[in-house]
Amino acid sequence: MAFEPKEPQKKLKYKELRIYSDEELNNYTEEELKDFKCKHDIPDLDELEKGPWPSFVADAKREALHRRKLAEDRMMVGRDVVEDLMGILQLSFDHGETHWKHGGIVGVFGYGGGVIGRYSDVPEQFPSIVHFHTLRVNQPNSKFYNTDYLRTLCDLWEYRGSGMLNMHGSTGDIIFLGTTTEQLEPVFYELGHVLQQDLGGSGSNLRTPSCCLGKARCEWSCIDTQDMCYELTHFYQDELHRPAFPYKFKFKFDGCPNGCVASIARADMSFIGTWKDNIRIDQEAVQAYIGGELKPNAGAHSGRDWGKFDIQKEVINLCPTKCMWMEDGKLMIDNKECVRCMHCINVMPRALRPGSDTGCSILCGGKAPILEGAQMSMLTIPFMKCEPPYDNIKDVVDKIWDWWMEEGRNRERLGELIQRHGVPKFLEILDIPPMPQMVTEPRSNPYIFWKEEDVEGGWKRSIEDYRARHKR
């Protein structure tokens, strides 16, 4: 069943919500752009424009020119914000250090997060970016937009901000870059009351959850990532907007182990779709791949001639657990050895599909490098059913938060807390046993730690009694 939001959604109509006319939006020519010179000298930024890659400098120059030609009363924030921004960046390059102060604290009433304060430490030199606060706007699930939505947001931000956006921040949010303190409440009002949009998370709270395309577009999605992301975002609104955690906390939802939102690398709790039963095989389609009628990887490697498809070399030999083989012209899989890496399925999507008994794996403790170095999240719960309203999932979340909020030090991520207390303690909190799935190479890597109460007689039992029965 297709994902449906549980409350009526406002359809944003650009025609009704627009602020700028077509003439205002298209107010410069490509000729004028060629001749554009920033009011500050920016040789190092000009350098960044060179080469075949897209460049934020090229985009910034367009925006700067656009603002130069807008009427004064059509922008609530300085006309020169973009030019001053380029100027301060050049200055930072020259000095080898940033000219943004650390740790502004601004916000909107009712929320403790969503706005990140930024002040420049060279206000005289760049007067229009003395304040340059960032807003995080909660992105729609899977980042599905229509142009009405995007144009409406862009107009709002041109009018009340710098006009520059980051699509998207690494949390997943739409990032509104740069406005003044006075504009924060008006932007928040427009977003919330007129456009039915919300701010995302920042500071020590639940960061805006994000998910892959999931069932909306992807045949591999083992869970409805959009529905889960939507439900948990709504269910944990308080945690999202009113920081009370030791530090940030991220949820990300991947529909299958391909991990398109890289939840394993970037989330304190990663939810990754998986299956319990067998990979579904269509032997006829396997033959079609072997015979060349179907292109491997859905034709993704068609730019160059890689020679005839070789199932042995390209699929079977690359299976990380070597659990596939051909037998009497049929592809066989020993499913209990399969680690759900997705490789064979990615190569032959018409022949192989994930199983149909689906749910998610929950992994905990991933984060980018701040204190202890980058860490992937650790497999914690190999398989869990994912059905609305996800009470089983929320139970796990609540247990983890209770522990982390009680024990976590200021600015300690979940991954670091697990490291400090050890995995056995973490499993005890969750009330789950250690499992081979949690361990790399469980067959050669002993992973069971006995606790005193598990051992008959405890640590202090007498060796004599044992020796009476067993000679040295």
Binding site: G103, I105, G107, G112, G203, R242, P243, A244, N410
Partner: protein, 105 residues
């Protein structure tokens, strides 16, 4: 750094409106700053939060974690946002005269 004057006091404040030194805090500051933080009237419940923050600060030299604040005052976080609409960090700490809490983006 700007300065503001109110009822014969002068305070130096930073761009976010925090006073530069806890020692310069007095009750008139609370009266002065409540408006910018969306507070209509300072009640005993506001004072309970303010006093707790100040006591903790005097003892440890920093603001308490929010969880501690809710535990010790007995106010739910949502209620603290009702008392201080701009929140415990930006609102309550500013009113109580504590230095600006540093956060993480």
């Amino acid at each position: 750094m700007a300065t503001v004057e109110f009822k014969g006091h002068t305070w130096t404040i930073d761009e976010d409106g925090f006073i530069d030194d806890f020692n310069n805090w007095n009750e008139d500051w609370v009266e002065y700053v409540k408006g910018t933080e969306g507070i209509n009237e300072i009640t005993d419940e506001h004072w309970k939060v303010i006093k707790y923050l100040q006591d903790y600060y005097k003892q440890y030299g920093l603001a308490p974690m929010i969880r501690l604040l809710t535990k010790k005052t007995g106010f739910k976080l949502k209620y603290i946002y009702e008392l201080f609409p701009s929140g415990p960090a930006k609102g309550a700490c500013k009113v109580a005269g504590l230095p600006k809490p540093t956060g993480c983006v």
